[in-house]
Amino acid sequence: MSILGNRVLRIEDPRLLTEGGTYMDDVPLEGAAHLVYVRSPMAHAAIRGIDTGEARAMPGVIAVLTGADFELPSDPPMGGGDEAMSRPTLARHQVCFAGQSVAIVVAQTRAQAVDAAEMVMLDYDHLPAVVDPEAAAEGAPYVHEAAGTNIVREFGELDPAIFEGCEVVVSQRVVNNRVIASSLETRGAMATWSEDGKLTYWLSTQGVHDARNVLANALKVDAANIRVIAPDVGGGFGTKVGLAPDELLVAAAARAAGVPVRWTETRSEAMANGHGRAQVQHVTVGGSRDGHIEAYQLDILQDVGAYAGIGAFLPQLTRMMACGTYDFPRVAVRARNVVTTTSPVIAYRGAGRPEACAAVERAVDLFANEIGMDPAEVRRRNVITPDKFPFTTKTGATYDSGEYTRALDLVLDAAGYSSLRDEQQRRRQAGDSRLLGLGMSLYVEITAGGGGSEYASIEMRQDGRAILRIGASPQGQGHATVWATMVSDTLGIPIDAVTVISGDTGLVPEGHLTGGSRSVQIAGSAVAETSDLLVQRAREVAAELLEADPADIVHDRTMGRFHVAGVPSSGRGWADIAEAAAPGGLVVEHRFQAKGSTFPFGAHLAVVEVDAETGKVTLQRFVAVDDAGRILNPLLAEGQRHGGIAQGAAQALLEEVRYDADGNLLTSTFADYEVITAAELPDFQLVPMETPTPLNQLGAKGIGESGTVGATPAVHNAVVDALLHLGVRHVDMPCAPERVWTAMRDAGGRTAEVAR
């Protein structure tokens, strides 16, 4: 009997719900000054001068710092590109997006810092804004003049020849809208330097060790002299991977100002720094009228924003996952990364894979619509069949396991697909102004991309408590619950006898990060294997203690005791074993190395109602099959699915970063930027399905990003499906009321006017 697979309640919650969490801004630090950034109000300008005189004279001001005060390396374009496109940590000669930091004020209180920041005078020469990525790709004006181009890099090739001989070819420009992760807690950091040059640094992060390494390199400090601590982290969604310039500067400013410094990003600052998605795609799909797709081409224009950071990697993942669940005979993918005078694009829940899924799922629907076949049937005729795994796609991904048709059938059955189609038909014939739309997605995604490793150690103390140190640090996922459950299960001790330590380089010697839906399969596997190793070690100690051969020692997991086979009364508990292991102690350390990436998959069905007169879309039902291999805690896995589906639906219906033609951010508050709320969402109908992966002993794949991968195209397709009979073939996301209304009107279908 294993407790794994049960709905174990989160062990984190009693503390969070009673005393409350300790998030970045709650961490006390005596004598800490407050840092506030002076940010560019302009999208693109040459900096002529920064006058800090008045600001320095303001009450409470300790330091006003500009780029000239720091010797920090610029970041060249990630993944390659012209050095002229490098990102300075603090802008010195030029600003390339509105919201870019140009100066730092350190003051005794936050209010004093904000007041003084208003008094820093910036002298700029305007440069033309470059907002539209398609125009940017065409040529001047350039974001980085010396580069002489806005294209950072390009890979892959288009190949029109793959469509030769296709009976039907459909093309569509598809916008994968720029969005904001909107984690409840924004970024934040705090730094204090000791007199002997050691740095203690608190950071709201997805990985303390990675952050420490970036700090060590940039600040030229031995990593051993840096301790990075993550307090409770209120969400990350990819935006807290690595170390952002504004975070790095907190440590640099503390050193320059000679005082401990803390910084908490405001919501509007968070909304102006670090966006997700932002691709313009051209999909082309060709095949025969019997529903077989023979060729698929995806042309990706990735807007990386002002500087090529993590955003530069998104199209690589989009390309890798371009084929989705389908066995397309011929495939071509090209990607171009282009800079614009907008916020840098970074990782956001899915990071490149939702973009791939959105493109191919839209393409399959366009094809199905063109040949007049049910989109479910077209999917069935083109999926990779179970007998073909492991399956290597035309774009180089090797899928570990999958049963795609079964996932699709499960979701359609659970939804009552055919009766929904009947209802849709009935409404269309009756001229009902509540148009029904059914949209599906059949997805596969990659988790723990590239494999990876993670560190774990377990120490059994003489009081019978197990101390787990784990390299992955959480942002609210419930890691501690899962790890404690696993240790408890393997060792045979109560869950509350397990202490989980993570998120502190001073307490956990090594680690990587939480991201790319890797934690259960990589950190979890590390915990599982380390637990096994501890039992093995305990067996040896017990053998000595009981004067028996280790092979004759029985580990009774129900009691948490070790005894000689056939003599249960001789048993010794974990505390006894730990005592016997003194002075060396009972402790094991282990690094798990993943064999490769895993490929979770699933199928989603969205049911929407479109108001034919206003274009307003209501998501009425959502049914999801998400197969992430073996599920260790359904409660937590469902939580991941809920949040992911909500964010995925939000991209399809509501969320969109908007800039005006001058590069001013129009969506800089939650009044303008439409994060989805519970009021816009139905209950989700979650259908279980588990196909274990052969790649780790748990059989687990990742679940964190399935929702944003699958839900966006399902909801998007549902909106278009509702409008098909009016002659609409495509509506770009987000399917806001006016956009839907305009599409209906332009299609020349039934006009949405009052008069009937």
Partner: protein, 282 residues
């Protein structure tokens, strides 16, 4: 997200509040704060004195029947307006509209007086006040005066309130028994300001409209009456709704902004007017 420095005052009577208001031209009243505080935090509003009216709840939070008029204290919260027995029974349009303002947090903080005095044309209640022919009672250094809602809204966030004056009561004539009403809005999320909202109130002789008022939110810099629609439907029955509603955007000047274009707003005004009138007929 930290406001510029300001003085904070918390008067315990209307007289005291008015005196404070008169003493500082750059003072602002805090009567809920869901519009004012975000603007202050973004430093788009920089009052030098913030006069917190919370302590006036005892004096200014009430809904009473004042002989054919529902008298509503300016500090009455949306939630209390929405759940008032008197309003639900006799002025259901107002109770319903108040129940649709923002989200539960907003409705438990925001007040009817705060909403009307702020005069955001996208807000729900100003248009409803117009339709109900509400009378606003203003108190200032030179005494108390009454202003009809029709004369109260002067422009975007501008009202008839003079320096030193505050809104203390909203007086809503109780509509005739058996009147019909409708309130509909389109917004992207439940908590958003209306892209467009329409309020309608009508009295009938049998199947024929005797008296009607239609109010539009977010179709200009102030809440507006759709006079063309009112004229077209008066004396007509339900079958006149569609034609009359076509005139809903007459005389309006809706903005094009991040939520919608002016053209779409005009379209919505027509569609929602028809729906509000249909609700009012049913």
């Amino acid at each position: 997200m930290i406001p510029a420095a300001f003085e904070y005052r918390r008067p315990s009577s209307v007289d005291e509040a008015v005196a404070l208001l008169a003493a500082d031209e750059e003072a602002k009243l805090l009567a809920g704060g869901h519009s004012l505080l975000p603007m202050m935090r973004l430093r788009l509003a920089r009052p030098t004195t913030l006069i917190d009216l919370t302590a006036l709840r005892g004096e200014l939070s009430y809904v009473r029947d004042d002989g054919g008029v529902a008298a509503i204290g300016a500090m009455t919260r949306h939630h209390d307006v929405a759940t008032s027995e008197l309003l639900r029974r006799r002025v259901p349009l107002l109770a319903h509209a108040a129940s649709m303002v923002g989200d539960p947090q907003v409705r438990h903080r925001g007040t009817i007086g705060g909403s009307l005095a702020h005069a955001d044309p996208a807000a729900d209640l100003p248009a409803v006040a117009l339709v109900l022919d509400a009378v606003l009672v203003l108190t200032g250094p030179s005494g108390t005066r009454e202003v009809a809602a029709a004369d109260f809204f002067h422009g975007f966030l501008e009202t008839a309130l003079q320096p030193g004056e505050m809104l203390r009561e909203v007086r809503v004539p109780i509509p005739a028994e058996g009147h019909g009403w409708g309130f509909v809005k389109v917004n992207r999320r439940a908590q958003d300001w209306a892209t467009v909202a329409v309020a309608a109130l009508l009295e009938r002789d049998g199947a024929v409209v005797r008296r009607v008022a239609v109010g539009l939110a977010n179709m200009g810099t102030t809440p507006l009456r759709a006079r063309g629609v009112e004229e077209a439907i008066t004396g007509r029955g339900e079958d006149g709704i569609d034609a009359a509603s076509q005139r809903a955007d007459e005389g309006t000047a809706p903005a094009s902004d991040i939520a919608a274009s002016a053209e779409y707003r005009r379209h919505l005004a027509r569609v929602l007017t028809a729906r509000a009138l249909r609700q009012a007929f049913s």
